[in-house]
C-alpha cells in the first residue's frame, strides 16, 4: 500500500491522470458523477490526462494515476508499463482493473472460440487470450474495488490522497452493512443464493436492499489484516448453496463466476482444473 506522500506538491497542484483499458467506462463515469465535488477536485488538482472529460491531454509524469480496465490486448502490456513509469501513485479502480472484470470469464475458456462467436472475421481481432488485473503486470499502490466503484469510496480515496493520508477501506463482508441497514436477509429468509457473506463491503448492501441476492460485484471479502492472507470462506458458502438451496454444481459455479471470477477464492469454485490454485 502506498504512503500517499503528496506533500511535495503542496505548492504546485498534483497532476492527475485517468487511463482506460478494457472496461465499460462506468468507473470513470463515477468520477464525472461526483457532482460538485468534481469541481472541488478540479480546483485541487491539475487534471492532466482524462480523455473522457477533456481534450487537453498532457504528457506525464503524473502524481496520481487512476486506471480503469483490464489488460487484454498485446498493446496494453506496453501501455501499462509506460503508465506505471510515469506515475508516482498508481491506483486501479473497478473490477476490471483489480481482477480482470467480467471479461475475465474468458480466462476460463478458449478465447479463440469466443472471438468467432461475436465477430465474423476473427483474423481481424488482436486480443490476448486472457483478461488480467493490472496488478498482474505492474506494481499497484492502491486498489478500489467494485463494479462499479462506489462514489463515496472514490470521494474518500481522493480526499485522503489530497490530504496526504493513506486511504484504507474495510475488507470485511457485506453482511455487516446489510444488517446495519436493517435489511431482511434474502438468503436466510428468502432462500436466495446471496454472496454477501463472502463479498467485500463497500456498495452499501444495494442488492439485499432491493430484495435481490448479492452477486458479488465488490469481489471476495478480505478477512486478513494487516497482510496475513485469510480468505473469505467461499467453499463453505458454496456447500451451503448445495445443501440448503439445492443448487446444482453448475449453478453454484455460475454464481461465483460472474464479476470477480478471476479472483481467489471465487476463482476456485467449481473450477476443477484450478482447484486450490493460487492467484494465477
Amino acid at each position: 500500500m502506498a504512503t500517499s506522500d503528496m506533500t511535495v506538491s503542496k505548492k504546485i497542484k498534483p497532476r492527475l491522470a485517468v487511463f482506460k483499458f478494457a472496461s465499460c467506462d462506468g468507473c470513470q463515469l463515477s468520477i464525472l458523477s461526483l457532482d460538485e465535488d468534481l469541481l472541488i477536485l478540479d480546483q485541487a488538482v491539475d487534471i492532466a490526462y482524462f480523455p473522457e472529460a477533456s481534450s487537453k491531454m498532457q504528457e506525464g509524469p503524473y502524481d496520481v494515476t487512476l486506471v480503469e480496465g483490464s489488460i487484454s490486448t498485446p498493446e496494453h502490456l506496453h501501455q501499462i508499463a509506460e503508465i506505471r513509469e510515469q506515475s508516482k501513485i498508481l491506483i486501479t479502480i473497478g473490477a476490471c482493473a483489480t481482477a480482470g472484470g467480467l471479461q475475465a470469464l474468458r480466462n476460463f475458456a478458449d478465447a479463440d472460440h469466443f472471438t468467432e462467436v461475436v465477430y465474423a472475421h476473427p483474423e481481424y481481432i488482436e486480443s490476448l487470450s486472457t483478461s488480467t488485473p493490472i496488478s498482474e503486470h505492474v506494481k499497484v499502490d492502491f486498489e478500489l474495488w467494485g463494479c462499479p466503484i462506489d462514489k463515496l469510496q472514490l470521494k474518500q480515496l481522493l480526499s485522503d490522497l489530497l490530504a496526504g493520508v493513506t486511504p484504507r477501506f474495510p475488507g470485511q463482508s457485506l453482511c455487516q452493512e446489510c444488517k446495519r441497514k436493517s435489511e431482511v436477509c434474502v438468503l436466510v429468509s428468502g432462500g436466495e443464493p446471496c454472496l454477501g457473506p463472502v463479498t467485500r463491503t463497500g456498495c452499501g448492501a444495494i442488492c439485499p436492499s432491493m430484495g435481490k441476492p448479492c452477486y458479488g460485484c465488490f469481489g471476495p471479502a478480505d478477512l486478513s489484516f494487516p497482510n496475513d492472507r485469510e480468505q473469505a470462506n467461499a467453499a463453505s458458502l458454496a456447500e451451503r448453496f448445495a445443501t440448503e438451496l439445492k443448487m446444482s454444481e453448475d449453478e453454484i459455479r455460475r454464481r461465483f463466476h460472474l464479476i470477480y471470477s478471476y479472483m481467489s477464492p471465487f476463482k476456485e469454485i467449481g473450477d476443477a482444473d484450478k482447484k486450490g490454485g493460487g492467484n494465477n
Binding site: 504512503t3 506533500t7 480526499s159 490530504a163 496526504g164 493520508v165 493513506t166 484504507r168
Partner: protein, 287 residues
C-alpha cells in the same frame, strides 16, 4: 497560557469530549519518533485537565481518526502535556507530518498507568524490548525527577539487532543517574555492540535482585514479557509485583467499544498497565 484554578473539574474531565490542542513544540527523538508538547486551546480545559502517571489520551487527527497515546509528561506539571509518538501507520503518519502550530484533538485521560506510587521506596526494574517503548520513558523520567523516593533503578532493554536501539543517548544519560543501572542486550551480534549479546532474560541471571522489595515495569512484545515474567518469578519475585503494558486495538478508550478485551478485562479501563497475576492466562495468546 498559564494554569489557573479549575472551576468545575467534572465538566471537563468526565465529558468525554474531544478538546482542540495546539502543538507548541516538536522534538525529533530519532527518525520516526517525535515528542509533541501540546497546549489546550480552551482555557477551561487547560485549567482542569489532570492526569495520573501512565495514563493515555486518545489523540484525534482531523479527518483521519483517533489513536491511543500515552502521556509522557509529569502529572505534577499538568499544564504540560507531552506525547511521544512513533510513526507506524495511517494515523501516526499524519501526526509525523504535523508541526508546531498545528492543532489536534485530545480526549482523555484514560486508563491506569504505571504503579509509580506503589513503587516508592522500592527497587524498580524496568524491562523493555523492541523498538523503543515510549510510555515507559515518561515513567522513568518521573522517577528520576524524584530520585530520592525510589530505591535502586535498573533499566533493561532488549533489541533484535543493534540497529533497533533507539534513544541511545537517553540510555547513556540514565546510566549517569545515581544508584541506577542500564543494561542492554541484542539478540544478534555486531562489532560495535559493547553490551550483552543474547536475549534479555539472560541478563536477569547476571544481576542481584531483592525479590521482596522490587516492582517490575514491563513494556514490549507480549512474548518477551511473558518469558521475562516467568524468569523473574523463578528468581522469586511475586507475580503481583510485575506490571505489564498491554496494548490492544482501541476505538473509544472508555470501555464501550469492545475492541481491547483481554479475557475478562478491557485493556483501556483495566489497563493498559496490568498486573501479571491477573492476565497471565491470557498473555501472548491469540485472544
Amino acid at each position: 497560557m498559564s494554569k489557573k484554578a479549575c472551576p468545575s473539574p467534572a465538566s471537563v474531565m468526565r465529558s468525554n469530549r474531544i478538546h482542540p490542542a495546539r502543538i507548541i513544540e516538536k522534538i525529533e527523538e530519532t527518525p520516526g519518533i517525535y515528542t509533541y508538547r501540546l497546549q489546550f486551546e480552551e482555557q477551561e480545559v487547560a485549567d482542569c485537565f489532570a492526569f495520573a502517571g501512565g495514563q493515555f489520551n486518545m489523540l484525534y487527527i482531523y479527518g483521519v481518526g483517533e489513536v491511543p497515546i500515552s502521556i509522557v509528561s509529569d502529572p505534577e506539571d499538568a499544564h504540560i502535556l507531552d506525547h511521544t509518538i512513533r510513526v507506524v501507520g495511517r494515523v501516526t503518519e499524519v501526526i509525523g507530518k504535523m508541526g508546531v502550530g498545528d492543532v489536534m484533538g485530545v480526549r482523555g485521560p484514560f486508563g491506569s498507568g504505571w504503579p509509580l506510587e506503589e513503587a516508592k521506596g522500592k527497587d524498580v526494574l524496568v524491562v523493555t524490548g523492541g523498538l523503543g517503548c515510549a510510555p515507559v520513558v515518561g515513567a522513568i523520567e518521573y522517577m528520576f525527577r524524584r530520585r530520592e523516593q525510589y530505591g535502586h533503578i535498573r533499566i533493561m532493554h532488549g533489541v533484535k539487532t543493534p540497529r533497533d536501539l533507539l534513544y541511545r543517548e537517553r540510555f547513556d544519560q540514565w546510566r549517569k543517574e545515581p544508584d541506577t543501572e542500564v543494561l542492554l542486550a541484542s539478540d544478534q551480534p555486531e562489532k560495535t555492540w559493547h553490551y550483552h549479546t543474547g536475549v534479555i532474560t539472560e541478563l536477569f541471571d547476571q544481576v542481584e535482585m531483592n525479590p521482596a522489595n522490587t516492582v517490575v515495569m514491563m513494556c514490549g512484545p507480549e512474548i518477551m514479557m511473558k518469558l521475562a515474567a516467568r524468569h523473574l518469578i523463578r528468581r522469586g519475585l511475586p507475580d503481583h509485583a510485575l506490571y505489564l503494558s498491554m496494548e490492544r486495538n482501541m476505538q473509544c478508550g472508555i470501555g464501550l467499544c469492545g475492541h481491547c478485551q483481554i479475557g475478562p478485562y478491557f485493556s483501556c479501563k483495566d489497563g493498559p498497565v496490568m498486573r501479571y497475576d491477573l492476565i497471565a492466562p491470557f498473555l501472548a495468546k491469540d485472544n
